[in-house]
Structures are given as structure tokens and as C-alpha cells.
């Protein structure tokens, strides 16, 4: 085959260009740590990396949600612990019997203070939102109706769900302040399913009857105490603030309105009857705390799954798109050697022709 001068040039320049192209790709890999730089470099790799990145982004979002949910549940738990302690203190106020009028006034003021504490707890806020108002989180869960002398629930019984990623939805993240739904426990009302009768040590009979009202959304517990003399005392409450209010007033020997006088028997029976309810409510608080624990446990499980999944996805993403540095450096050395050899040969071949030898 005849070899012309142009063939030398084109072969050598093509060889140089090919080697430089390889060198450019490898040096890019070293500079960025990535194996490919555009979809056509590795179509499948690109598509997989988009998928992994999408999952990682959704996982990151879910982990953010989990962190927020955990903080929210922890805050709820703290409030419920304090609520439980307050109910214990309220229970203590119901324990003494008799005493001097000063003692009774002291108990009344103690109960009133605890009532106000309970109201504060019921109107707890998290990120400026009332946490026990259901979806109506922009208004306090409870306000005092000074006409009827009762505490009225302002919220609803809607529960907020959260998406924790990978199709996992956490239902009922929030605790409602009151509900007529007996399957939905609230720490602020007495979840009485059916009428209940108890007998007090004084011999008086107490009948608790639930009356569920949709407006306002609350269950009124009607209480009827019949003493041994067949005297009947009727009153009602809907929540633990009402309950504390009743106890405080009972120590002052007045009805819920603060003016209607109660007999000594009525006062002591009321205090004893309500002390009984307090035990039940405290038990409810513990149950709600238990439910929080279950939710937290579910969140922790999901967090573990997400962390594991994130690690796997990240590893897969790295395997697909990250350049292996040792291999890349070796490849650079190989290409560099070939390139230098070609340059050296080119310099020799191109620099001389027969003309250089003609004298």
C-alpha cells in the first residue's frame, strides 16, 4: 500500500485526538469523582441515579417529618405527664375529709389553682398551634363560659395524619381535647361508655350517665347522688376543668355557680364521687400516653427502615455514579503513557522527509 504524507498526518492527529479525548474524560472523572457527565454517557446509570436520588429526596423529607413528629409527640408526652401529676395533686385535695373551714378554703383554693393549671395544659401550644383543638388549632381548646360556669371545648375531633414516606401513613398524630367518639380517648374528658353506679362510703349512691352532644362536640356526664335519706343532688360536668371546679366549689360548699349553697353531706359526697372519676381519668391519661408511645414506636421503626433504605439507596447511587479513583488513576497513567509515546513518535516521523537528506 502506498503511503502518502497526509496519511501520516491524519493517522497521527486522529491518534492524538482519541488519546486526548480519553484523557479529558478521565481527568473529568478525577476532578468530579463522577463516572458519567451526561445521560448518553450511561443511559441506564443516569435513569437509575434519578430513581435513587428521588427516593433519597423523599426519604430525607420523610425523615424531616419523622423528626417533627417525634418532637411533637415528645411535647405531647411532656404535657400529659404534667397533666397526670396535676390530676394526682387534685386527687390529694379530695382525700381529706372534714377539717376546719380554713382547711376547706385552702383545699378549695388548691383545687381552683389546679383547675387553672389543667386549663393551661389543655390550651398548650406547639409552634403557635393549640395541640388539643383538633383541626381548629388556631383557637384554644377550652374557654370558660362565665354564664354557665363551665369549660367549653372549642375544637373538633379531627386527627391529623402524617406521611412518613414509602406509603407509610401515621394516623392520629394529635390528641383531641374532647370527643363524643368513645373509641377516641381524650385526657381531658371522662370517657364513660355507659351509665355507671357506685356507692360511696357514706352510703350515698352515685349514678354517672353520659350524654353525648354533637354541638358542642362533647360528652356531658350527668351525676346524680342519692344519699341515705333519699336526698338527691344532680349536677354535671364535661371535662376535668369542670371537675376541678366542682371540687373547689364543693370545698367551699357551693354549687358550680359559686352561689348556691350545698349541704355538708352534698359537698363531701360530691368530692368523693368526683375523686372516683379522677381515678378513671388518670387511667385514661396513662392510656393516651401509652398510645403516644405506640405511635412513637411506629415512628422509630419507620425511621430505622428509612435510615436503612437511605443507606442502601445511597450506596447504590455511589456505586453507579461515583468513579473508582484507583482504576481512574491507573487508566490515566496508561493513556498518558500512550499519549507521550505517540507524541514522541509523531515528532520524529513528521519532522523529517527525504528532502532533509538531500544535499
Amino acid at each position: 500500500m502506498r503511503v502518502s504524507s497526509d496519511m501520516f498526518y491524519s493517522h497521527l492527529t486522529q491518534g492524538l485526538l482519541d488519546n486526548l479525548k480519553d484523557m479529558d474524560k478521565l481527568s473529568n472523572q478525577i476532578a468530579t469523582g463522577k463516572k458519567f457527565f451526561k445521560p448518553s454517557d450511561d443511559v441506564l446509570g443516569t435513569l437509575r441515579s434519578i430513581g435513587y436520588k428521588l427516593t433519597l429526596s423523599q426519604n430525607a423529607q420523610a425523615q424531616q417529618t419523622i423528626t417533627e413528629a417525634t418532637n411533637y409527640l415528645n411535647y405531647n408526652d411532656t404535657i400529659l405527664t404534667q397533666l397526670s401529676e396535676t390530676l394526682t395533686n387534685l386527687k390529694r385535695v379530695t382525700m381529706p375529709s372534714g377539717g376546719t373551714s380554713e382547711d376547706q378554703a385552702y383545699y378549695a383554693s388548691q383545687a381552683a389553682a389546679l383547675r387553672d393549671n389543667l386549663l393551661d395544659f389543655s390550651n398548650s401550644t406547639y409552634l403557635n398551634n393549640y395541640i388539643f383543638s383538633g383541626s381548629l388549632s388556631d383557637q384554644p381548646a377550652y374557654t370558660y363560659d362565665d354564664v354557665n360556669h363551665v369549660y367549653v371545648y372549642q375544637g373538633d375531633n379531627n386527627q391529623m395524619a402524617l406521611n412518613l414516606g414509602a406509603g407509610t401513613t401515621l394516623k392520629a398524630i394529635n390528641i383531641v381535647g374532647n370527643s363524643i367518639d368513645t373509641s377516641l380517648l381524650s385526657p381531658f374528658n371522662y370517657n364513660l361508655v355507659a351509665a355507671k353506679t357506685i356507692t360511696l362510703p357514706s352510703g350515698s349512691t352515685v349514678v354517672f350517665t353520659p350524654d353525648r352532644l354533637t354541638s358542642p362536640n362533647s360528652t356531658i356526664i350527668n351525676v346524680q347522688i342519692t344519699d341515705t335519706m333519699a336526698n338527691v343532688d344532680n349536677f354535671s360536668f364535661t371535662n376535668i376543668m369542670d371537675l376541678a371546679h366542682l371540687i373547689s366549689n364543693a370545698w367551699n360548699r357551693v354549687d358550680i355557680d359559686g352561689t348556691t349553697a350545698l349541704t355538708s353531706q352534698q359537698s363531701s359526697d360530691r368530692i368523693e364521687a368526683l375523686a372516683n372519676v379522677l381515678d378513671e381519668v388518670q387511667s385514661q391519661v396513662l392510656t393516651v400516653q401509652g398510645q403516644l408511645g405506640v405511635s412513637q414506636s411506629g415512628i422509630n421503626d419507620q425511621k430505622t427502615r428509612l435510615t436503612s433504605n437511605t443507606t442502601t439507596q445511597q450506596n447504590s447511587l455511589d456505586n453507579i455514579q461515583e468513579a473508582k479513583m484507583d482504576e481512574t488513576i491507573i487508566s490515566i497513567l496508561k493513556v498518558s503513557t500512550a499519549l507521550n509515546a505517540l507524541r514522541s513518535a509523531s515528532a520524529k516521523i513528521l519532522s523529517q522527509s527525504l528532502f532533509d537528506f538531500l544535499r
Binding site: S4, M7, K38, P39, T46, K53, S57, T65, G134, Q321
Partner: protein, 548 residues
């Protein structure tokens, strides 16, 4: 044989050597000239002269002609390969531009903004009454909008560049055609009446121009053996015939595509190779990808709006369109009828086209039929020329005016403006509808959760895939096309290089060879001169002898 014969023979040798040296210098001068074919002198023995006594004496050497080393078959292969190479170059180059618009490996594209947008809905669902989360969502929506607009801009800019390149290419094709016609004329003049003389340099020039023309478009060429002129055809029409040319023109049509006409005849379908063919192919591919992207954005707009209008905002008001809704294009094929189309129910709304036709009801009136072109679902009833309002698949069709059975309308979602009009319609964070009912505002996050979940839903208009799957598939198609085009370019480049190497082997100039020939013919020239000198000495000796 006389002394004078020696002079004559020496002279022919001298002239032959001169011609050789001239051709060698031309070869050396054009060693790097594209398209140049090495030339060599054809020598023949001069006709001998009989001098009687059975003596036939040679008369030296004769230059029969100058031949270029040229393989017509190989050149034809190069021309064809040049068409493929030209196409691959333009196709690959333009697809690589588009690939950069969708370069998810560098975080460029829609995947991240789209995911961030739906993640922002998650954030709103975590704290539905939070204005910070709501403002963040609007920011992410704007980022999504801007990303889509930037992508569309990148694609349309590339299309504009392709179109601009097409105009240049057509102009070059016409210039090359004119050049070939001129060279045809020159070759015909040089070779007219000459049995042996060929216009080597003009032919090389014409071959080179033809090669360049082939790199631009898929022409065919054949030479007229009677006068050496080349006829060049494009799409079975003459581009060059002898010294005449026809002008190729590119005319923009209503669909924003070029129609190519040669001598007034539409040859668009015949443009398949060369840079022009590559531009046409790339433009077609890119327009398909642009339509897919617009469809994705239109579908996202529709789905987000549907869900958003089912929720309630912080003011307890039912949600409005989150993004500016897609409009409709109406194609009117009627003499007196009019039709307007507006979206009136987002839930059943599709991205399909609709045909509105009319049929004689047999009693002087007409029935209208609206047909979904994709599903063939129809709605038909009596038509009232005074004004007929039809709600079908989320669109309100208002038709009026006298119609005939041949009248029709086509209603299609205006996908061409799906991204151009893509804007976040909500500006007040309080108007984000995160709740499922007015009564549960502000703490209810049910609608926000459904909004966030849209990213995981299969969308019928997108071949029943999710937004991200559809987008991934789009990136995959672009990546694959770009890879195929780049592989094609590499193959065609290698093939062309191989053919050019073969051509260089035959037609290329070797400096070593020319140097050797230079020495050889320099010596031949010196020998011829010495021959004349010797004859001169002999002749002088003879004259001196006679003068004594």
C-alpha cells in the same frame, strides 16, 4: 542519423524532464490541498523515423499527457459516506445540546424541582397552618415553573439555532451548486476537442465541491461522458445541469417546520442525509421531546389544580387553580359556525383532542357529535343554531351558527403554551388549600397529604405512569438518542477516515516520493542537457574539422 537528431532527442528529453519537474512542483505545492489528486506525467516513446537500410531510429520521448491519480468508485463511496457523516454530525451535535437541558447527572432538569415541589406539600401537611411552610411551597412552585421555562427556552433556542443553520445550509447548497455549474463550464471548455487533455485541477476542485455538497445534503451526481459536465440531482430534481442551476429554498410552514422546494417542487420528504438531513431529523426528535415535556407540565398543571380545587384554604374558602390552567385551541372548519371551549370541570379533564361533527337529522336540523379522538367516547344530541352548550369530559363547548354536515371543529388543549403560560396562580400563602373542608381549617392537612401524594399517582394522560417515571423515560429517550447519534457519528467518522485513507493512498502526495522523483528528474534533466552539450561539442568538432 545526423547530429541534429541528437539535438532533437535531447530536446524532447529536456522538455519531458521539465514537464515532470513541473508536475512534481505542483504536487508538492498542493500536498495539503483538500481534494487534490496527485498528478503524474504520461510519457510515450516518440514515433521513430526510418532511415533506410533497415535502420529505424528513435526520436526521443513525448509527453502524452498529465494524469491525476483518481479512483472514481472510491470517490463515490466517499461522497455517500460524507452524506452519512454530515447527518451524524448535525444530529449528534443538536441532540447533545438538548441532552444538556435534561442533564440530570449534573442536577440540571426537572426531577429535583418536581420532587422538591411535592416535598414542600409534605412540609405543609406537617404544619398546615404554618405560613412559613406555605411560603416555602410557593417558592418551590416558582422554582418548578422557572425550571420548566428554562428547559423550554433551552430547547426552543436549540430549535432556533437549527432553523438558522438550515437557512445557512440551504444558502451553502445553492452556492456549491453554482460553483459546480461554473466548474462544469470550465471543464467543458478545457476538454472540448481534446482527446487527451483533461482539466485535472478543475475536476479536483469540482470533486471537492461535490464532496462538500454531499456533506450538506443527499445529492446524486453523474457525469456526462460527452462533455465532462456533472449533473447533480436532489430528490429526483436537477440541482445542477451543465452550467445551469435550480435554487433550493426553505419555506417556513404553519407547523413551524421547513418545507424544501427545488425548482418549485416540494422535496421535503427526500431530504434525509447530510447536515440538512441531520438538522431535519434532530429538529423532529427535539420537537417530540418538547411536546413530551409540555405534556408533562400540562398534566402536572391539571392534576395539581384538580386536587387543589378540592381543598380549602386558611380562609375557609374552596381552593382555586394552583397553576394557571391550560387553554384550548379551536380549529374551525365551518363556514358560518362558531365554537368556544373552556374547562369547566377539572376532574374529568383530559389532554386529548376532540372532533365536533354534524349530521343531518332527517327533519331539516342537525345533530352534533363530540368525539374524544383518543378514547372514541362521544356525546351527541340535537344542535340548536341559536346556541348549544355541551359539557363533555370537563370541557364546556359553546357552539352556534348555521352548520352543514360537512362542517367540523377540532378542539385540542393548547400544549404549545403549556410551559409558556405555566405560572403559579396562587400568590397568597393563605390561599393554599391544605384542608379537606371549610370546617376543619386550619389544622386539617388531608388535602395537603393528597397533594403530596400526586407524585406517586399513575397519570392516565402520561401512559399511566407517574410524573417522575414519565420524566425519567423522557431523559432516557434523549440519552439513548444522543448516544445512538454519537455512536453513529463515531462509526461514520471511522468509516470516512478509512475511505479517506484509501483515497490518500491513491491520490495523496508523498513528500518522500516527490523528493525521490525530483532527484530522478533533475538527473534526467541534467542528462538531457549533457546530451545536447555533447552533441554541441561533437558538432563544434566537426565544424572545426571542416574549417581547417
Amino acid at each position: 542519423m545526423s547530429f541534429l537528431t541528437i539535438f532533437d532527442i535531447g530536446k524532447t528529453a529536456l522538455f519531458a524532464s521539465q514537464a515532470q519537474l513541473g508536475v512534481i512542483s505542483n504536487n508538492i505545492a498542493n500536498a495539503s490541498t483538500p481534494g487534490y489528486s496527485r498528478q503524474e506525467v504520461i510519457l510515450t516513446i516518440a514515433a521513430p523515423v526510418s532511415q533506410g537500410h533497415n535502420q529505424v531510429v528513435g526520436q526521443g520521448v513525448q509527453v502524452a499527457g498529465i494524469r491525476r491519480q483518481y479512483d472514481a468508485l472510491l470517490q463515490n463511496q466517499i461522497d455517500l459516506a460524507q452524506q452519512e457523516y454530515g447527518k451524524s454530525t448535525t444530529h449528534s451535535q443538536n441532540l447533545s445540546y438538548i441532552e444538556q437541558v435534561f442533564n440530570e447527572t449534573q442536577g440540571i432538569g426537572l426531577a429535583t424541582p418536581m420532587t422538591d415541589f411535592f416535598n414542600a406539600w409534605h412540609e405543609v401537611s406537617n404544619n398546615p397552618q404554618g405560613l412559613t411552610e406555605r411560603s416555602l411551597l410557593l417558592q418551590k412552585a416558582d422554582t418548578l415553573v422557572n425550571s420548566a421555562k428554562l428547559m423550554e427556552q433551552g430547547i426552543t433556542t436549540t430549535l432556533t439555532q437549527i432553523n438558522s443553520g438550515i437557512v445557512d445550509t440551504v444558502s451553502k447548497i445553492n452556492a456549491f451548486a453554482t460553483r459546480i455549474a461554473k466548474l462544469n463550464e470550465q471543464i467543458a471548455q478545457v476538454e472540448a476537442g481534446s482527446a487527451s487533455g483533461t482539466a485535472n485541477d478543475f475536476r479536483d476542485q469540482r470533486s471537492e465541491v461535490l464532496r462538500q455538497l454531499n456533506s450538506l445534503v443527499n445529492v446524486n451526481a453523474w457525469e456526462d461522458p460527452t462533455n465532462g459536465t456533472l449533473t447533480v440531482t436532489l430528490g429526483n430534481r436537477n440541482l445542477v445541469s451543465g452550467s445551469n442551476t435550480n435554487t433550493l429554498s426553505a419555506i417556513y410552514d404553519q407547523t413551524a417546520n421547513y418545507i424544501y422546494k427545488l425548482d418549485g417542487i416540494d422535496i421535503t420528504s427526500k431530504i434525509s442525509k447530510g447536515e440538512l438531513g441531520g438538522a431535519v431529523a434532530a429538529s423532529g426528535n427535539i420537537q417530540t421531546h418538547l411536546l413530551d415535556l409540555r405534556k408533562l407540565v400540562a398534566s402536572l398543571t391539571s392534576q395539581v389544580n384538580v386536587q387543589h380545587t378540592q381543598g380549602y384554604d386558611l380562609n375557609g374558602v374552596q381552593g382555586t387553580d394552583f397553576f394557571t390552567p391550560i387553554g384550548f385551541n379551536v380549529s374551525d372548519n365551518s363556514a358560518n359556525g362558531t365554537l368556544s371551549a373552556t374547562a369547566n370541570n377539572l376532574t374529568p379533564l383530559t389532554l386529548d383532542n376532540y372532533a365536533v361533527t354534524f349530521a343531518d337529522d332527517g327533519s331539516g336540523g342537525y345533530n352534533y357529535t363530540i368525539t374524544n379522538s383518543s378514547t372514541s367516547a362521544t356525546s351527541t344530541a340535537a344542535y340548536d343554531p341559536a346556541g348549544t352548550t355541551v359539557d363533555f369530559e370537563g370541557i364546556r363547548f359553546v357552539i352556534s351558527g348555521a352548520v352543514t354536515a360537512t362542517d367540523s371543529f377540532t378542539v385540542a388543549p393548547d400544549l404549545s403554551k403549556a410551559i409558556q403560560n405555566f405560572e403559579t396562580a396562587i400568590t397568597d400563602p393563605r390561599e393554599i388549600a391544605a384542608s379537606s373542608s371549610a370546617a376543619t381549617v386550619p389544622g386539617d392537612n388531608a388535602n395537603a397529604l393528597l397533594m403530596a401524594d400526586i407524585i406517586n399517582q399513575d397519570i392516565v394522560e402520561l401512559n399511566s405512569t407517574t410524573f417522575t417515571d414519565y420524566y425519567q423515560s423522557l431523559v432516557g429517550q434523549i440519552g439513548s438518542q444522543s448516544k445512538t447519534a454519537a455512536d453513529g457519528l463515531t462509526y461514520n467518522n471511522n468509516f470516512l477516515t478509512m475511505l479517506n485513507t484509501q483515497r490518500a493512498s491513491i491520490s495523496g502526495v508523498s513528500m518522500d516520493e516527490e523528493a525521490a522523483n525530483l532527484v530522478r528528474f533533475q538527473r534526467a534533466y541534467q542528462a538531457a542537457a549533457r546530451l545536447i552539450q555533447t552533441a554541441d561539442v561533437l558538432f563544434e568538432d566537426l565544424i572545426n574539422l571542416a574549417g581547417r
